[in-house]
């Protein structure tokens, strides 16, 4: 009898495993295999087709001595700092939204948050790119119309302005996904806490700093990991808008990796894999460090 039951239990497990097997299989094939293969290829001179020669750590040595990679790292740190600072507007907006007493106002506010989500990201970038155009763009036209022609800028074409322009593209820097996470967190807070705070006479700032912020720390950490990994490994904005230029002024390591693979006439996939692996390690290390720091402050 006992044996039968055990068999039944095993059968249940098998059914359970069978259900997760497809997801597990696809994760292994499409996530882990490319990562492991990328690790292997980072040690090769590999053009993706017929050149596949073991070169040891040569790719890594070349990356670390390439001034362009150093430049790209400096650029990405700039974007990382900017993106971390620019997490504040979303957090603030969510707290304000949550405090709105009018259900109707809350509804409108939420709609306002969600609309950007349905506008394709690429369209937004292209609109911004057009607004920055030195000849036709909105900003220089506005400056001219306001009799401020002397202040017309080259915007994306200026090596000193390009990074700021790219950061500015996110204005007003409200991330819809992050906002949903924050709002979820705020809604899960026990109403008794607000009542207690009100009884204690806590003002707006006190509520924000002593209740809302500490209780949203978990959500903040989650978004922070997204910002960290997204910024360190991402390059979509730079690829679409500036292609890393002028020169290398807005090149980031992800774009450097992409250009190594697809930028020349012959793909250098081994080298690109090595860049990708380095980025992966840097992103992991920074994420772990950041998580530990945020937790220790709790």
């Amino acid at each position: 009898m006992k044996r039968w039951r055990l068999r039944g239990v095993h059968r249940e497990w098998l059914v359970g495993y069978a259900f997760i097997l497809p997801a597990l299989g696809f994760t292994l094939i499409f996530d882990y295999y490319p990562i492991l293969n990328g690790m292997k290829q980072s040690l090769y001179d590999w053009n993706g087709v017929n050149v596949d020669r073991f070169v040891g750590l040569q790719n890594f040595r070349q990356i670390l001595t390439d001034p362009v990679f150093g430049h790209a790292m400096a650029n990405v740190l700039f974007f990382l700092a900017a993106n971390i600072v620019l997490m504040v507007p979303t957090l603030t907006a969510c707290i304000i939204l949550f405090r709105l007493r009018s259900q109707r106002a809350q509804y409108i506010y939420r709609i306002f948050f969600m609309i950007p989500l349905v506008v394709p990201w690429v369209v937004m970038l292209l609109v911004w790119e057009f607004m920055y155009d030195p000849q036709f763009g909105l900003f220089n036209h506005l400056l001219t119309d306001l009799h401020l022609s002397a202040y017309r800028q080259l915007w994306l074409a200026s090596p000193s302005e390009v990074k700021w322009c790219l950061v500015g593209m996110g204005f007003p820097w409200i991330s819809t996904t992050a906002a949903l996470i924050y709002l979820g967190g705020l809604m899960s807070i026990d109403p008794a806490i607000w009542e207690a705070a009100a009884l204690d006479g806590a003002g707006s700032w006190a509520r924000a700093l002593r209740i809302e912020w500490p209780l949203l720390r978990g959500q903040f950490k989650l978004n922070l990991v997204g910002v960290l990994s997204g910024t360190l490994t991402g390059y979509g904005v730079q690829l679409l808008v500036t292609d890393g230029g002028p020169g290398y002024s807005s090149t980031v390591p992800g774009l450097y990796m992409y250009q190594a693979a697809f930028g020349g006439t012959q793909g250098n996939y081994g080298y690109a894999s090595a860049v990708g692996l380095l980025l992966f390690v840097v992103a992991i290390l920074m994420t772990v460090a950041m998580m530990r720091y945020v937790r220790s402050e709790a």
Partner: protein, 549 residues
Amino acid sequence: MTKRWGTLSKGRTLALIGLSVLMPVGASMVGASAAMAKTAPAGSQAKIHFRMMDWQGQDLYTTGYNNMIRAYEKLHPNISITQVFVPQGTGYESLLQTGYLAGSAPSLVELQQPNYETFYNDGYLVNLNPYMVKPTPYSHGTPWVDTFIGGPTGFQSIQEGNSAGAINVVPVDGDGNGPASWLGFYVNLKILHKSGIQHVPTTYTQFIADCAKIKKAGYTPIVADNDRWLAWVWYTLGAQMGNDYAAKFFPKKYAVPLLAPDEWAVAILDGKINAQDPLDLSMAKIAKSLVPYFQPGWVGTTINEGKILWMAGGGAFRMTGSWNYGWYQKNVKGFKFAVLGWPVYVVPKSASPYADQAWVKSGGQITSGWSVNAKLLKDPAKLRAVIDFLQYATSKSAQRAFSAVADSMPEVSGVPLPPADKPFVLPNSADTLAAPASTASPNAPPLMQNTATMAALSQEYLNGQISLHQFMTTMVADDMPYLRTEFENTIFSPKTGLPAQIKVDMATLKQDEREHAAKVVIASAQQALSLAQLRLQFYDRYALPYMKK
């Protein structure tokens, strides 16, 4: 027709003196003949569908191709064709690279130099030599290759781009084959007139003087962009300066045009061409002298933005890389325009002592066309259909119809040139300027070996972010690891290295001799083997010592 100058490779455009063109055709006939033999007989009625992909989105070209496809489908009701348009600048090459790797690339793809070289050498394209030497169903007994303007000579640089001497593209839509000038400079006449200029410049000196006048009048002389324009500037300087410059560093026995790219590279690796190289310095200075005539913010201007800016009257001259005159005629509003043709950009000796005062003999060299996916070698019926379509597309009647609709330069002999294309054609008198076919131009500053960094580095230098000295030293620094890797692969790669190539050439020769192949085929195989051996000897002697350092 749009050309992407940014992808021009070095030393591929010159004729290979001493080698007959038909020889390499014959040499690789043997290897490819097996594939040809497997193709389905003409007239097969099995349903066949294939895709063809190109970057031609202009309405006139689209109409021309649509007409051609529909006419062909009418002739062959069992065949249907879908044309896929992928604009350039949106990852055309990357899409193909992944498509070929995944086995999902279209049957026919329009490619330009050096992509057809890369993809052929990677094994993705069909060697068309066996088809080229035979008449087509539409050529009335003339071998296919002889129906094109320039005949076999036009395919010379294509054949030099791969070790098999294979023809791997078929030009259909106004590649600039024949005596084309390659210079698609469009000129806004309204700006010229407002600047007090009543003529279209015809020489480099006049062009520069006119730019100065236009700028003084408050207009932008040149609408530049940060990609194709830059590549064009380097290409056009490299094509008319420094012929045979690299060959002087090595013994005469290596002065073979096919070795020219190797000579440039080895000369850089061993320091003969370095950051103080006078030819590179000269080219860099001339390029920089043009910058004051570009529009403000040019370095942030993409190809398409440059086009829009010029169309909106934002500057006088615009190199579009296109001779699609008909499209401009239809779409330019608000001003009259002209085409600035040959020989504006022949750099005079007064601009540089390295000026050849000649344009390389590029006329007749095909640099783009349709390539057939090698995957079709496993599907003989489809391969036959695709080849037949290409043969139809390059028949006199199809070319006449296409040229008339698309205002494109015909690719085959005996088809009249549309009047709109005449300004783009190099006059016969210009032939006297052409350098001898035996010489080799660098086609870019010699130090610009690493094409992956070319655009960004050029932007930094021309935009004043780095000095001329930094530009030169960075190019050298970029070249070293790149060239070492290239050389290591050339010498040591078990699949693509020269020793492997020599083995293949030897086997081909033995097979030809065993099978009592035609004399021309055997001679060609011997020639290919000798060249590969000479190249290996060159690398052993001049590259290997520096790679061991």
